[in-house]
């Protein structure tokens, strides 16, 4: 029961971890990307389209499918799709200096629309009665477990029984934490987010940093969508199923205080909170609805506490949400 709960929490937390790691990278460059929910949808649907085409090319037969390709094609598609969205965002906000909130929200509308549009069209193509596309064959390749997971009992199940994207999420978060805090590139990126004018004067190419950070951040976030479809939903795409996880990922950034390493723990806590309503005994269906607000309430509390304590290392990047124009005084 406990083991199952923890596993479930991790599974639910991974899309959030991807999303928030991506958002942290973007926010460190001083851009509040509210398009993350849309980008995650696009990442998911790009992966689904890739997998769909590959499954069809193999005649819908698992025997013809190459394991590496079956994973690689959706993976690359998801990265490309979400990077493209990130590029649109950075073109508008970095080069054209458009308002970040409005651009982000429009991108979310656009991305969710895109996801549901292609999802709905693919569903129509499959000509089934179900309102969803099942890519279970591809999903099977995604959720290959480590061979020794079953031999280790509860520990094996908690630590080693997940799909490879889960481990990738943790690795990416650790790498991002390392790059941000321990390398010159990370230092430059942080300085761009704190004070772009100073960074510019120091010879850092601000525009390039902003573009690259936003695009990489979007690519990471898009993988969250892919993980949701392929591992959590067992390859079943149905419209709007991804829900508001994108917003939760943005909330998690604050919960983690802009630290990817805390985001790892935070995402699993969020996963647990999202799931708590199913595991607390004797809850009516109506009380379960109330329990679903737990992650949001916790985020608000964290938000308030961090703003009350005003510790310097817990603050968002100083120029978050402000467009940089070199000639402005």
């Amino acid at each position: 029961m406990i083991v199952q709960f923890i596993c479930r929490a991790i599974l639910l937390g991974v899309p959030l971890l991807f999303g928030s790691t991506g958002e942290i990278v973007t926010e460190k460059s001083g851009h509040l990307n509210l398009g993350i929910p849309g980008i995650m949808y696009v990442g998911a649907i790009s992966g689904v389209i890739g997998a769909f085409l590959y499954e069809n090319a193999c005649g819908n037969d698992a025997a013809n499918m190459n394991g590496v390709l079956a994973v690689l094609i959706p993976f690359v598609c998801a990265v490309l799709g979400s990077t493209l969205m990130g590029f649109i965002y950075s073109f508008l906000t970095v080069t054209l200096r458009a308002n970040q909130n409005v651009t982000g929200l429009a991108l979310t509308t656009f991305g969710i629309g895109l996801g549901n549009f292609f999802g709905g069209s693919l569903i129509k193509l499959t000509e089934t009665d179900m309102p969803s596309i099942a890519l279970t064959k591809t999903s099977a390749f995604f959720s290959v477990k480590l061979p020794f997971a079953d031999d280790l009992g509860a520990i094996g199940e908690i630590f080693f029984s997940h799909d490879f994207l889960t481990y990738l999420a943790i690795i990416i978060a650790v790498v991002v934490a390392f790059v941000l805090n321990r390398t010159r590139v990370g230092l430059n990126l942080r300085s761009v987010g704190e004070n772009p004018a100073t960074a510019d004067a120091a010879g850092i190419n601000v525009i390039r940093y902003k573009y690259v950070a936003t695009c990489i951040g979007s690519a990471i976030a898009g993988l969250g969508g892919l993980q949701y479809v392929m591992a959590y939903a067992n390859g079943v795409w149905s419209n709007n199923a991804f829900g508001d996880r994108g917003w939760m990922a943005i909330a998690l950034v604050i919960f983690a205080l802009w630290k990817p390493s805390s985001a790892i723990v935070g995402s699993f806590i969020f996963g647990a909170l999202c799931n708590a309503n199913n595991y607390i005994q004797g809850l009516g269906a109506e009380t379960q609805e109330l329990f679903k607000m737990l992650p949001y309430i916790v985020t608000i509390i964290v938000l308030i506490i961090t703003s009350m304590r005003k510790k310097r290392e817990h603050q968002p990047p100083a120029s978050l949400g402000v467009s940089y124009f070199r000639e402005e005084r």
């Binding site: 200096r97 909130n101 651009t103 656009f110 943005i250 308030i304 000639e327």
Partner: protein
């Protein structure tokens, strides 16, 4: 390699971006309207590609989707269109004072839902006991107050501790959604549907069920314009928005202004929720506002915080939304086509602001300036 880099560093960049002085407003509007027209045209081409119909056909379908068969005297669709405009406009108007103050209220969705919920609770719990006029007043007051409270909570923390309001208000949306889900579950008895309630509805003028909503929002539009442009409060809001330090210097109580403005913002959102619940649906579910709270943010920004321009903007966006939905419906496309169209058009318009605020100068054009 290093050599070429050195040479390049000495050359001037090909393009050079300069901040414009004030562009005459007719020119700015020409750019904006031009962008809207061009992007709508592009959308027409996109749907043409998807549906294999001619461009004129596509626009005719859009027109039908918005206005219906108006030439035969049927005004059903037209009223529906005006209703859509009214609700979106009401939410956008609600956000405007907050945005003008640079308070990013992303919580219109939640504030409207809570306002609607308050109206619903009053209609169900008090509907049988109070007389109609009293009930109506209670419904209106309850929704205004609840919406205001939902806006007040983030404002207080913003004023006291400078808590990030964008994320706070976003989270409040989902809390509101879950409260509604809870209430619907209880009242609907597990069916997740509340049957329309007959008590405490807004009055119907003539035979038109949308007219009251439209008149109310028209009134709010004018009031909001006057409030922002001619009242002392409106002036204080714009000073706080421009610079909090200036505001403090000239003796404006910034905290008070933030809290007061958000109460107004939340209250108008509450009215929008009340119009939806007591005026239109007579029921509530988690989808009652249907994401319009987010669209309203974009409308308010695109409308330059001017209520009358926002009327135009909502007109365009509702036209696109209903028109694209009709195209999708007629041509067997997915209904989300409308979201894509609205998203792209807004992205284009947001992008075009660049050409209003900045001008791009090419290298040879400005040699004499830079001696």
């Amino acid at each position: 390699m290093a050599d070429t880099k050195k040479v390049k560093a000495h050359r001037e960049p090909l393009v050079h971006i300069v901040k414009r002085d004030d562009m005459p407003s007719w020119k700015a509007w020409l750019i904006r309207i031009g962008t809207i027209v061009v992007s709508i045209f592009l959308m027409g081409c996109l749907s043409m590609m998807l549906t294999e119909r001619s461009l004129i056909d596509t626009f005719e379908i859009m027109y039908r989707g918005v206005f219906g068969r108006i030439e035969t005297g049927s005004t059903v669709m037209l009223w529906k269109y005006l209703q859509e405009i009214a609700i979106l406009l009401c939410l956008a108007l609600a956000l405007t004072p907050a945005f003008k103050m640079k308070f990013w209220n992303c919580g219109a969705e939640g504030q409207a839902l809570m306002g609607g919920l308050a109206a619903m609770v009053c209609m169900i719990e008090l509907g049988k006991t109070l007389s109609y006029p009293v009930l109506l007043v209670v419904v209106i007051v309850a929704s205004v107050v609840t919406g205001a409270v939902w806006g007040l909570i983030p404002a207080v923390f913003k004023a006291l501790f400078n808590t990030n309001e964008t994320l706070f208000t976003l989270m409040m949306n989902y809390i509101a959604t879950q409260i509604i889900a809870y209430y619907v579950y209880i009242v609907g008895g597990g069916s997740n549907v509340i049957q329309p309630v007959a008590e405490g509805n807004l009055p119907v003028i003539g035979n038109n069920r949308y007219l009251v909503n439209i008149i109310t929002v028209a009134l709010i539009t004018v009031l909001m314009y006057v409030y922002l442009k001619y009242s002392k409060h409106g002036y204080e809001i714009s000073v706080v928005g421009e610079s909090q330090n200036t505001a403090r210097y000239i003796g404006i109580n910034v905290k008070k202004v933030i809290i007061r403005t958000m109460v107004i913002s939340g209250a108008v959102c509450g009215i929008a929720g009340m119009l939806l619940v007591a005026g239109t649906d007579h029921s509530i579910n988690t989808d009652t506002v249907g994401g319009q709270g987010f669209t309203a943010i974009m409308v308010s920004w695109l409308g330059q915080f001017n209520p009358f321009i926002m009327v135009l903007m909502t007109g365009v966006i509702c036209f696109l939304r209903m028109g694209a939905a009709k195209v999708a419906d007629t041509c067997m496309l997915n209904a989300s086509f409308a979201d894509i169209v609205v998203g792209i058009v807004i992205l284009c318009v947001v992008g075009c602001e660049f050409f209003i605020r900045y001008s791009v100068k090419f290298r040879h054009g400005k040699k004499e300036v830079k001696a």
